[in-house]
């Protein structure tokens, strides 16, 4: 399984990432997931941005453990993931994930699993910035 992980303080360049997509003839499903900063953290408070903090060395290691597990569970050909740190404005993506698999069932299941697990073990934290 090809794996690519990037943590960046720059905006996510979706178009460039799309151009970088590589998949073999045996693959039939591609999923992209974007996590986007919402203007309402709760119903009662508006925010203008979220500041993301990461324990980077551990983030990378934990993602690699998740990718190892993903590879065991599903016949994924490729996973690419980008997570922003620092200030991410409302309406901008903080997370970009691409999963390439033979069939859609595997693509959906593994992508959801990866994001669920990320939210459980990958050391990244949010701080809402009031609007």
């Amino acid at each position: 399984m090809k794996r690519q992980f990037t943590i960046t303080s720059q905006p996510i360049d979706e178009a460039a990432l799309l151009r970088g997509r590589k998949m073999s003839d045996a693959m039939g499903a591609v999923i992209y997931f974007l996590g986007v900063v919402r203007g309402t953290e709760a119903l009662d408070k508006k925010i203008s941005a979220i500041e993301y903090e990461a324990f980077q060395k551990m983030v990378e290691h934990q993602f690699n453990l998740l990718f190892d597990e993903m590879e065991k569970r599903w016949p994924i050909e490729s996973v690419r993931l980008v997570h922003r740190i620092g200030l991410v404005l409302v309406n901008e993506p903080s997370l970009w994930v691409e999963v390439i698999a033979p069939h859609r069932g595997e693509a959906f299941a593994s992508c959801q699993w990866l994001i669920d697990e990320m939210k459980r073990v990958v050391p990244i934290w949010k701080k809402p910035i009031p609007g």
Binding site: G35, F55, H61, K119, R120, V122, P123, W125
Partner: protein
């Protein structure tokens, strides 16, 4: 024996500190280190249940026996994505 301790997210506000060093006794566990820290930082003690603890880049249980030079990281539940 000395270990490094790092705090992340609002644990930095609770302790007023991002990184510190601590001298411990041979054979001390994470639980024993945490007990010392909780006495010093009461707001941290309140977070005991949900607190995540790593040594190096791996999560470790409270009975992990510390080694000289270990880098211990303490942080609240993660919120990536």
């Amino acid at each position: 024996m000395r270990v490094q301790i790092q705090f992340y997210s609002y644990f930095k506000d609770f302790t007023g500190c991002a990184q510190m060093a601590e001298t411990i006794a041979e054979g001390n566990t994470l639980a024993e280190l945490l007990k010392k820290l909780f006495q010093r930082f009461p707001r941290l003690a309140a977070m005991e249940k949900s607190m995540l603890v790593a040594v190096g880049v791996d999560y470790r249980p409270r009975d992990y026996v510390l080694k000289d030079g270990d880098e211990v990281s303490l942080f609240p539940p993660v919120q990536g994505g």
